[in-house]
């Protein structure tokens, strides 16, 4: 994006503000952060995320990092992974975590779908539109420790039990020989209907132009 001068009203920032909904000061701060993480480079690679110690503590770190390089999250209707991202894409992914402004109900519903889509994409690593048992099991493996207290089968049984529950929720009663391919996005939405994810899955950015939507 060239050498961005950080004064408000710059054309690139105006564009980003409209696309993502962040304020100018937030974009400025995030851009500084981007430059810090990328060591003043133009693009961010997966490796750059590895230098954040707090992130190293996170069990699902690799999924989170992958989410930044997943074209489905760039709101451009693309698919598949990329190797490096520019600031615009970084900001796009971040915008999924913005708190919605207090507006009409329809907005909230679409914001909700968007956030749930983000989480769905995080689980659906092979990009086929469903979360299979394998993918689900993989997430559980990441979350649970590989310590001796936990046998290998425990993780598997937890995954199976959870999948069974999901299947019964979305498909009702299942025949014994029916095969459940995986959770589609619609099932996913149904599962998490009760959750007010638009409230829970937010990062509270300060210095907003618009008033903060408090929990």
């Amino acid at each position: 994006m060239g050498a961005l001068q950080s004064s408000p009203g710059q054309p690139e920032y105006v564009d980003l503000k409209e696309k993502t909904g962040f304020s100018f000061s937030q974009i400025r701060v995030l851009h500084k952060r981007f430059k810090l993480l990328s060591h003043n480079g133009e693009t961010l690679k997966r490796d750059h995320f590895n230098s954040i110690p707090d992130l190293a503590c996170n069990p699902i770190r690799s999924q989170i990092i992958e989410a930044f390089f997943d074209r489905r999250n760039f709101r451009q209707n693309g698919e598949g992974p990329v190797d490096e991202i520019h600031f615009e894409e970084f900001l796009m992914v971040m915008s999924h975590f913005k708190a919605p402004s207090p507006r009409m109900i329809e907005e909230r519903e679409s914001v909700r779908r968007e956030k749930l889509r983000f989480i769905f994409n995080m689980h659906d690593t092979d990009n086929d539109g469903t979360i299979t048992l394998e993918e689900y099991r993989h997430v559980i493996d990441e979350l649970l420790s590989l310590s001796e207290a936990l046998e290998k089968d425990t993780a598997k049984s937890i995954a199976d039990a959870a999948m069974l529950e999901v299947a019964s929720t979305s498909m009702g009663h299942m025949e014994p020989d029916e095969f459940y391919e995986g959770i589609t996005f619609e099932h996913f939405l149904k599962l998490l209907k009760g959750f007010e994810i638009e409230l829970k899955m937010n990062v509270h950015f300060s210095m907003m132009d618009t008033p903060t939507f408090c929990k």
Partner: protein, 445 residues
């Protein structure tokens, strides 16, 4: 043409005489003519005027939040509390495995929060200023304010680069050469009592000249706690200039690796007049050897206190990072010292990945000045039943508290290397015990 050269020579001679008379002689004998104080007064008033001007024009009554407030407001809950909350908002009661899809939300959010802002990586860049201090290098978000301000800024550039910088470079050069000559000369003397006194005097004098060379204003607090012979002085590390700052007020024995080039010359000269502890590169790897040499030095009560920076690397003076336990295992008396620079006047942090040493020194010489506070903390000993790591942490907290810095547990080595894999396992363990622990209790029902 000849007249020009005669004139130039005469100008140079006057310049040097003025320098020696007004700056070096007071430095040598430790009194002050008040020139630096006058300069600092003018500087402080100018910066205050600039801040007021900026505030008036931009209408932002609320200036940028300081680094400690940050961009994000984080939740205060622990992992258990938050996961409980998430699960409780599930419409259906949990059956079977206690694993809930919703648990991902918590970790995802935490992950994104740490990507946007984390405690550690921000410590390896210069501190953000609340208000601009008329230096180009700190001009991040400030745009054109008024003609007056731009004029002052322009004058500032001229003063800093054309008047102050040559002056400072000359002083630094004189200071360092005098250090080499003086210490070598003292080294030729036999071991009388005079020799120690002279050596101390030469060292302090040279560091004073160097400090004048940076327009450093140093305020020492609690000088009754000053490090004594036979002890180890530990301090937080921001830049190589820390050495100049501390040595202005006393003599220390340095510890470090033997370098080649200019620094090598300095090291060899310094060792001639009083003992320092210089290691070869290969010797540094051998921990026992290092510990032994330090112990020997410390046990000799005639030798000067050793100066060590246990962080091992330069940090940006907003926090104190993990102290390496090596120097705390020796069992000597520890004299902690806290150093805090005032970032408004000049940023002392050496970002070694961004600037080379020479580049850094030039930046120092073209800042306005250097203002710092040095606090001598009361002496500390290793207590019964306390191991080296705990002792190191105790000293670190004391230093952080005194200097008004954030006390971090992270290792300064993270500046260059990446965090280890076992960090991830800590969180995993905590989470598994929640999931599996609940599981077994529900099975027993």
């Amino acid at each position: 043409m000849e007249d020009f050269w005669v004139f130039a020579l005469w100008a140079l001679k006057t310049w040097l005489c003025l320098l020696i008379g007004l700056i070096m002689v007071p430095a040598m004998f430790g009194f002050s003519l008040g020139i630096s104080e006058a300069y600092m007064n003018i500087l402080v008033k100018t910066l205050e005027w600039a801040t007021l001007n900026i505030q008036k024009v931009t209408d932002e009554r609320t200036l940028k939040p300081s680094a400690s407030n940050g961009l994000i407001q984080r939740e205060d809950g622990s992992m258990e509390k938050e996961l409980e909350e998430l699960r409780s908002s599930r419409p259906k009661p949990l059956v079977g495995g206690d694993f809930a899809l919703s648990d991902c939300f918590y970790f995802t959010r935490k992950g994104i929060e740490s990507i946007v802002e984390d405690e550690v990586t921000q410590r390896f860049t210069s501190e953000e200023l609340v208000s601009w201090n008329l230096l180009t290098r700190t001009n991040n978000d400030f745009q054109y304010i008024s003609l007056k301000l731009t004029l002052v800024y322009g004058i500032g550039i001229f003063v800093r680069y054309c008047i102050l910088a040559p002056l400072r470079i000359t002083l630094a050069f004189i200071g360092l050469s005098w250090l080499v000559i003086g210490t070598s000369a003292v080294g030729l003397l036999p071991n009388w009592r005079m020799k120690f006194w002279l050596s101390e005097w030469v060292h302090v004098m040279c560091y004073r000249i160097c400090a004048r060379g940076l327009s450093a204003t140093i305020r020492y607090h609690d000088r009754e706690n000053k490090p004594q012979k036979g002890g180890i002085c530990v301090a937080n590390h921001t830049s190589p200039i820390d050495i100049v700052i501390l040595c202005n007020d006393g003599c220390y024995a340095m510890v470090g690796q033997v370098h080649g080039g200019l620094i090598g010359v300095l090291q060899r000269a310094m060792v001639r007049s009083c003992p320092h502890v210089w290691f070869e590169r290969a010797e540094m790897k051998d921990r026992h050897l290092v510990t032994k040499r330090l112990t020997d030095h410390v046990n000799d009560k005639e030798k000067l206190p050793i100066l060590i920076f246990p962080e091992g690397t330069c940090v940006n003076n907003t926090s104190v990072m993990m102290f390496k336990k090596g120097s705390f295992e020796i069992g000597a008396t520890i004299y902690p010292v806290a150093i805090k620079y005032d970032p408004n006047v000049g940023d002392a942090f050496w970002n070694s990945s961004k600037h080379s040493m020479v580049n850094y020194l030039l930046r120092m010489m073209t800042s306005w000045a250097l203002v710092c506070n040095v606090w001598y903390l009361p002496v500390m000993h290793q207590q019964e039943g306390e191991d080296a790591v705990q002792f190191a942490n105790r000293v670190k907290s004391a230093i952080a508290r005194r200097g008004g810095l954030v006390d971090l547990q992270w290792d300064g080595g993270l500046k260059r290397s990446q965090p280890k894999v076992w960090f991830k396992e800590e969180q995993q363990k905590q989470y598994s015990s929640m999931v599996v622990g609940d599981d077994s209790s529900s099975h027993s029902d």
